[in-house]
Structures are given as structure tokens and as C-alpha cells.
């Protein structure tokens, strides 16, 4: 593949790129996040940006969107050199970015969120008018949304639509989306792609950062791959396939772990009966759930996100009160045990929310590495924390679990998404769990890193750890789990042996298809 061959076939040669980034460099303390990167986007193109965790994708796009300033390099928009000092200026040139964490005002309506801050409102809001306006744009692009609904009532997929609408309303021609599909249900992904196609037909360009190669193959026109801050390849989608992309990203073949092995009959370690748990809004999030978990098995929880998985895991980890039912650990009732005593008895958990729950923002990697064991004697000399010991502990985790960080004294916020996940998982596994609860542990990980995580989990399983795994990807579930429980509206609809079921069967139970003879 030659980097110089941009687009001849698809796009008319005379057409100029809407975006042309040249020789972009960006350093952070200890790393070169972007190393002489050139990147172009043509009108109407859906451009996928790929690369391992920490390759510099988010950095490059944050530069384009005006959030970061490059150390050197030029950016041209429609042939004109621009220099952004803020995201607002980038937006004035038609470049808008949607981050993984949405930036919406929860108590405002959809229409208010779309219109406010655009500078089009002077003194008062005419609700009828802005709702009509919002409706108009949303119909143009097939974005199904109720303009009068309040944001906190919306699902993540709907909130994302509001973000897109916001950008479109501000006249955005180049939409950058950083891992937009990680929080979406399969149906919502389909809808998102339809919207993106519609935008592309109307001449708008989209840059999509993702780790899911099947999505790239499905939607992208053109692909650029980064590795360690450099462009290692780019080409039209017609010339590519998943294997090729993987090799470009990680410079080696990724071997999918083979999980299948002879069925073992580990003894039962966790026994859950008629469990009921409340959600944040006082609703019944987990309803009458019963199941057993055995040593040395992986039980996957399948289901569309938001059907009680999060609450179930939190309740088992001691983070959420149990309304009724029982949780027995090796025969002992533990439903009223607190977090610390559960950790002590070997129940560990990797939460869905990485920064904010699993890891503490603004504290250093060192401080974070002891979050779940900070009270243990081994880290103290007398009353005081012995940072030398903590540090060598941190360094060991970083090494063992392959976390990439230039300096462990840096705040956790400097780590890329994938590295955060590895640190978090490594920290939990390192405590030698007997029961490991993991919610979406490969979310946001590149193929190789995800495989690394699955390897770790399988190794844990082989050591005899009982693993409860909340996953969204059915292929992955069938690859690594032993049994699968399908959650729908707070209930476990069915628990099946993976060998005796199929993706289609699970898929239909997930969306609530009527069960016969349960």
C-alpha cells in the first residue's frame, strides 16, 4: 500500500480534500502521541481511523477539533490553512467532534440541548420554534428523536443522536466520532450507520474511530491506520480485509485464543436466589434472578445494555443494596457483607465505568494501583504509606499486564483507553480472586489487547476462578464462555450451555422474543 495513493478511483481527482493535515507532531510528557502524521478526508467520505490502544487516534482528532494544539504541522480546511485555538473555532470551520463521554445538559430538552450555545439565541427561547427546527434537521438525516424529551430520559443511543443533531445544527460538515459504537446496542449501531450514510450522501464527511473491524468493513470508504503515533498505512476499503487491517495495526498476526476444552465440573462457589436489586431511579433493576456460579467456569451475561447487568454485578460486589433474595458464597449468606469483606474473601470486580469508579481521576497511576488494597499492612511502614513499596508493586502490575505508561507518577488521565482497562483488570486479577465479576472488560480495546484480556481471563478460569462476565459481543461469548445467561428487563430469561445453543437463539432471547416452555 502506498501512502501517496489517495483515492484516485473513487473520488474525482480535481476534488480537493475538505481536511488536509500535514506533518502533525504532538508530544506529551514521555510519549510522542503523533509523529509526523498526514491525514486527509474528502467530501462525502466515511473515513475510519484505526490503531492499537495508545496509537494516537484520539490525540490526532482532538487536534483537528481544536481541543489540542499540535507542536508542529499544518491543517487545511477546504484548501485554506487554519489554526484553531478552541473547539469553537474548529466548529466555525465546520469540524465537530463527539467524544465518548457525552456533553449534554441532562435536565434540558433535546431541542434546548441542540440549540443552546450555538449563539443563535438572544434573550428568550421560543420552544415551539426550536423544537420545529430540531425536528426538521432530524428528519433530514433520519435521526429519530423526540425534540421535547428531556435528555436524562434517553438511552445512550438516543443521547448520541442528540450530540449528532447538535453538530448538524451548528453547520458541521466534518463529523468526528470517537468510538461511537461501544455503548450502543446492535440495533442502535445499525441506525447510526444509516444516519452516517445519509450524511455522506449529502456531502458531509465522517471520521470514525473504532476498534471493531467488522464495522469498518461495513461502513468505511477509506481507512487510515496508526501505530505508535505514525501512519502505517491507508487505503480504500475495497483493497482491504480484516486480516490485513489487523496486521497493519499490530504488526503481527493475532491468534484468537481457543477457549474450548473439556468440560470441568468445578464445585459451586456462588449461589444466587431470587435476587432483587433496585436501580438508581428506584426502579426494580434486577428482578427475581437466580443462578449458580462454579469454580473454573466462565458464565457470560448476554443482553442489551441497560437490562440490569450493571446493577447485578454491583450488587454481587457489595456496591448496591439487595432488596430481597439471597447471595450465598460457599454456602454462607453474604448479601449484607460490605465491599472490603467481599474483597477479603476473594470476590473481585471490574466495573463498567473505568474512570470514576474503577480508577480515580487525577490521582497518579501509583495511587490507583492500590485503590482496592490500600488498607493492607504490606504498603505501610508504621502509620505511613511506604511509597517505595507501593511503587514497586505498581511497576510489577504495569509490567505483568503490559500497561503502557511513560511514568507511573503521571495522573491516570494520561493513559489511553485500552491501557486504563489493562491496569484495572491487572489490579483486580493480581489480588488472586476466587470469583471475578467483569463488566464489559474489552470495551474500547484494540483486537490485540482484547485478545490479551481474554487470555488473562481464560488463564484465571484455568486456575479455578469462577468468572461472571458481562459482554455485548455474542461472537466473543461463544468463543470464551462456558455458559451464557440472557438478561432481559432485569430477569434472567434463560441459562444455556454455549455448546447447546446458537447465536441466533441467544440473539432473539436478548430482545425479548417470547419464550415457549420456560
Amino acid at each position: 500500500m502506498k501512502a501517496a495513493l489517495y483515492h484516485e478511483g473513487v473520488v474525482n481527482l480535481k476534488q480537493i480534500p475538505v481536511i488536509e493535515m500535514k506533518g502533525i507532531n504532538k508530544r506529551f510528557p514521555g510519549v510522542i502521541a503523533n509523529d509526523n502524521i498526514s491525514f486527509r478526508v474528502y467530501p462525502g467520505e466515511i473515513h475510519a481511523l484505526l490503531g492499537e490502544n495508545g496509537a494516537g487516534k484520539s490525540t490526532l482528532m482532538s487536534i483537528l477539533a481544536g481541543l489540542y494544539r499540535p507542536d508542529s504541522g499544518t491543517i487545511k480546511v477546504q484548501g485554506k490553512v487554519v489554526r484553531f485555538h478552541s473547539p469553537r473555532q474548529a466548529l466555525e470551520e465546520g469540524i465537530g467532534m463527539i467524544y465518548q463521554h457525552f456533553r449534554l445538559v441532562n435536565n434540558f430538552t433535546v431541542a434546548e440541548n441542540v440549540v443552546l450555545g450555538s449563539g443563535n439565541i438572544n434573550w428568550s427561547i421560543n420552544h415551539e420554534l426550536i423544537e420545529k427546527e430540531t425536528q426538521r434537521i432530524s428528519q433530514n438525516y433520519g435521526l429519530k428523536i423526540n425534540p421535547a424529551a428531556r435528555v436524562h430520559q434517553l438511552s445512550l443511543g438516543e443521547q448520541q443522536r442528540v450530540e449528532i443533531l447538535k453538530m448538524l445544527y451548528r453547520g458541521c460538515d466534518i463529523l468526528i466520532m470517537d468510538e461511537p459504537t461501544t455503548v450502543l446496542t446492535p440495533g442502535e449501531v445499525k441506525e447510526l450507520f444509516q444516519v452516517l450514510r445519509m450524511m455522506s450522501r449529502q456531502g458531509k464527511s465522517v471520521v470514525l474511530i473504532t476498534h471493531k473491524l467488522n464495522e469498518v468493513m461495513e461502513i468505511a470508504d477509506y481507512v487510515t491506520v496508526l501505530r505508535r503515533g505514525r501512519v502505517v498505512g491507508d487505503d480504500r476499503i475495497e483493497n482491504l480485509d480484516e486480516g490485513l487491517l489487523t496486521r497493519m495495526m499490530v504488526a503481527r498476526e493475532v491468534i484468537h485464543s481457543q477457549a474450548r476444552r473439556d468440560k470441568q465440573d468445578g464445585s459451586m462457589i456462588l449461589n444466587i436466589n431470587n435476587l432483587e436489586v433496585k436501580g438508581d431511579r428506584g426502579n426494580t433493576a434486577v428482578n427475581n434472578v437466580s443462578f449458580d456460579l462454579h469454580q473454573g467456569e466462565i458464565l457470560a451475561i448476554a443482553g442489551v445494555a441497560g437490562n440490569g447487568q450493571k446493577e447485578l454485578v454491583e450488587a454481587l460486589a457489595g456496591l448496591r443494596g439487595v432488596v430481597s433474595g439471597s447471595v450465598k458464597y460457599e454456602g454462607e449468606e453474604i448479601k449484607n457483607h460490605n465491599v472490603k469483606s467481599r474483597i477479603a474473601s476473594g470476590i473481585n470486580m471490574v466495573p463498567e465505568d473505568r474512570i470514576g469508579m474503577g480508577l480515580v481521576p487525577n490521582l497518579s497511576v501509583i495511587d490507583n494501583s492500590i485503590l482496592r488494597s490500600y488498607y493492607k499492612e504490606e504498603f505501610y511502614s508504621g502509620w505511613l504509606l511506604n511509597y517505595k513499596r507501593v511503587r514497586s508493586y505498581t511497576d510489577r502490575i504495569i509490567k505483568e499486564y503490559d500497561v503502557f505508561i511513560s511514568d507511573s507518577r503521571h495522573p491516570i488521565n494520561y493513559l489511553s483507553g485500552g491501557n486504563l482497562q489493562k491496569l484495572l483488570l491487572g489490579r483486580e486479577i493480581d489480588q488472586g480472586p476466587r470469583v471475578l465479576l467483569a463488566a464489559y472488560p474489552v470495551r474500547g480495546l484494540d483486537v490485540a489487547a482484547a485478545e490479551g484480556v481474554y487470555d488473562l481471563l481464560l488463564k484465571e478460569r484455568d486456575k479455578g476462578t469462577a468468572i461472571l462476565l458481562v459482554l455485548e459481543d455474542l461472537d466473543d461469548i461463544f468463543r470464551i464462555a462456558d455458559r451464557v445467561a440472557v438478561m432481559y428487563q432485569g430477569c434472567i430469561r434463560k441459562i444455556l450451555d454455549v455448546e447447546k445453543t446458537s447465536i441466533d437463539e441467544i440473539g432473539s432471547i436478548m430482545v425479548g422474543a417470547e419464550l415457549t416452555g420456560v
Binding site: 494544539r69 485555538h85 478552541s86 456496591l319 460490605n338 466495573p351 480515580v360 485503590l371 511509597y387
Partner: protein
């Protein structure tokens, strides 16, 4: 047309951190200079007086320290609460409560040994301030009541309570009508340094600063405080008791502010009186904020604020009116705080192309 724009800095440069405060002080004095000249004073005379009055002699420095001590202790008290993002703006009331309880001990047990009396007063001061911190802490921990409002309202209760005492039951019969209690016995007064007014409170401030640093950075509990301050979700995930820590931190924060009150009555006024604190509890918020919660920097910033106060008194003595000194102090404060903006933002010239 080129335009000036404020741009958020990606990261604060160390250079800016040094240059900005110096520049803001220079600009503050520049402004004050013009202002004084326009009001018919000789600025150079006033500023020299101000400087000499605050820092120009051993006596001046000792007076500056005297004013700085309550700011140091209160600033430290506030910093602990702020670390956990608990906005304790009730230090003023906590100072008054501490002063009240310490005075109660001093007046009741007047003739005991200082080795018993002083520690007892300290404990009482701490306890009363702690109670004043614990009330909002409790409300926050169990019912999520906003601590800002409660701490603010409790200030008034404390201040008027002390007013009631010094105008009423505790009033010195020989005070000729002034709202004061009788003077404490020497045993209830803090030892001073030579014949200056600098008292044991300075040492206390140092001890508190060092202990806070060690506790927050190096102890188990300090670790909990740091984690809770950043994310209560993560704290719960780590098995920490967030509610208990909210109460504990508010209690200690209030208690230390109470000690500032005790130190003020035992070290300086030697009696309880109306208007005991000229707003130390509020000024200390600014001190803490400018020092970015760093205990050692709090000591330094509090000293500079002490100098500002004492310098103000010094120029008043040479006939500059009270309001003028207030305006001068206000100007300096304004520039210091405005300078903070330039630490986080920078000013750039943007050339806008005509569309």
C-alpha cells in the same frame, strides 16, 4: 481585524506560575499608585509607610505574623475540607465557637496551672469548632444537604451567640459598657516570643501544616480523603465509608478553625470580645484557594495577607483614611485573583480572516 482572545492553556507552565503573581502585584501597585496620586496623596510616601509598617522592622514583622497566625490555622482548616470538595465556608463561625468555648474554660477555671488550663482551652476550642463543622457534615452525609448554605448560616448563629454573651451574662462589670469579658488570668494566656506579641499559635500553625501534609499524603486515612475528593463512586468501590469520612473531615476542619479562635483569645485579646475576628474565616478561603490547598504554601500566603492587613493599619496611622486603605487592599487582592485567570488561560492575538 486582529482580536484578543482568552485561550485555555493545555497545561499550566511553571514559568507562568512564577511570573504571573509577580506581575499582578506590580500591576496592583501601579494601579494603587495612580489612584493615590489622584486622591491627593504622595504614593511613594504611602507605599513606603505601608511596606515599613508591615515588613520594615522586627516589630513590624512580628505584627504581621500576629495577623497571619489565625489566617494560617484557618486556611489549613479549610484546606482539609476543600480537599474532599466540601465547601466549608463556615470557618468564621467555627472560629467564634472555638473562642467562646476556650473563654468559658479560662473564665471558669481562671487560677489553675497553665499546663492544665491551656490544653483544656485547646480541647474545648477544638470541640466547639468541631461541633460547628459536624452539624453540616452530618446533614451532608445522611441527607445530602448542601454544606455551603448550612455552614454560612451557622456563622451568624455563632457570631450573635458571642455577641449575646459579651453584651450580657459574660460582660465585664468594669468594662464601662464595652462588650467584653473580663481579662483572662495569666495562666490562660499563651506564652509569647520575647516582648513581641508573637505567641505559641505560630508554632501550632507549623505543626498543623506538617501534620496535614503527612496525613493527607502518607496515611491510610489521607488516602481515603484524596480518593473521596476525586470520586465518591471510586471510594465506594474501594470499600471506603464516604459518609463517615464526610463527617470526620468536617469535624476536624471545624475543630482546627475552632483552635484558631482559641489561639486568638488566648494569645492576643486575652478575653472574649465582640468582632473578635475581622473576617479571618472568609479571608482564609482566599488564602487556601491561592495556595491551591498546599499546606506549606498556605503558611506563606497567609503571611503575605497578614502583611497586607498590617500595612493597611500603618498607613491609616499617618492619616490616610480607612476607606482608602481598604480600596488599596482590595486592588491588590483583585489583581492577585485576576492573575489566577492568566494561569489557566492565555491571551492571544487572533487574526480573523474576512469571510
Amino acid at each position: 481585524m486582529p482580536k484578543l482572545k482568552l485561550i485555555k492553556r493545555e497545561n499550566e507552565s511553571t514559568m507562568a506560575r512564577l511570573v504571573v503573581p509577580v506581575l499582578s502585584i506590580i500591576m496592583a501597585f501601579g494601579c494603587g499608585w495612580i489612584f493615590l496620586a489622584l486622591s491627593g496623596y504622595y504614593p511613594e510616601v504611602v507605599f513606603t509607610k505601608m511596606f515599613n509598617g508591615a515588613l520594615g522592622s522586627p516589630y513590624a514583622i512580628s505584627e504581621t505574623i500576629v495577623k497571619a497566625v489565625p489566617l494560617m490555622i484557618t486556611g489549613l482548616a479549610i484546606s482539609l475540607a476543600f480537599k474532599m470538595k466540601l465547601w466549608n465556608i463556615g470557618a468564621e463561625g467555627q472560629i467564634y465557637m472555638g473562642a467562646f468555648a476556650a473563654s468559658g474554660i479560662a473564665l471558669a477555671l481562671g487560677n489553675g496551672s497553665p499546663y492544665i488550663l491551656i490544653p483544656l482551652m485547646m480541647i474545648a476550642g477544638f470541640a466547639a469548632g468541631a461541633l460547628w463543622g459536624l452539624i453540616p457534615g452530618l446533614l451532608k452525609a445522611y441527607w445530602q444537604v448542601n454544606e455551603t448554605i448550612i455552614t454560612l448560616m451557622l456563622n451568624y448563629i455563632a457570631i450573635y451567640w458571642v455577641d449575646y454573651l459579651v453584651f450580657g451574662p459574660w460582660k465585664d462589670p468594669n468594662s464601662m459598657g464595652f462588650p467584653l469579658t473580663p481579662i483572662f488570668s495569666p495562666a490562660a494566656q499563651l506564652p509569647t516570643w520575647g516582648d513581641s506579641r508573637v505567641h505559641l499559635g505560630l508554632v501550632l500553625a507549623g505543626i498543623i501544616a506538617i501534620s496535614f501534609y503527612l496525613i493527607v499524603q502518607y496515611t491510610r486515612w489521607g488516602y481515603e480523603v484524596r480518593v473521596i475528593g476525586e470520586s465518591s463512586q471510586a471510594a465506594r468501590y474501594a470499600g471506603m465509608n464516604v459518609a463517615r469520612n464526610i463527617m470526620l473531615v468536617m469535624l476536624i476542619s471545624g475543630g482546627i478553625a475552632g483552635i484558631a479562635g482559641m489561639v486568638e483569645v488566648a494569645g492576643i485579646t486575652h478575653r472574649l470580645q465582640q468582632g473578635l475576628s475581622p473576617g479571618y474565616g472568609y479571608t482564609a478561603i482566599i488564602v487556601t484557594w491561592l495556595a491551591r490547598l498546599n499546606p506549606f504554601v498556605i503558611i506563606i500566603v497567609a503571611f503575605l495577607f497578614g502583611a497586607l492587613l498590617v500595612g493597611g493599619f500603618a498607613v491609616q496611622i499617618v492619616g490616610v483614611s480607612f476607606s482608602i486603605t481598604q480600596i488599596l487592599q482590595g486592588t491588590i487582592l483583585f489583581f492577585l485573583l485576576a492573575g489566577e485567570i492568566f494561569l489557566r488561560y492565555k491571551l492571544v492575538l487572533v487574526r480573523e480572516e474576512a469571510d
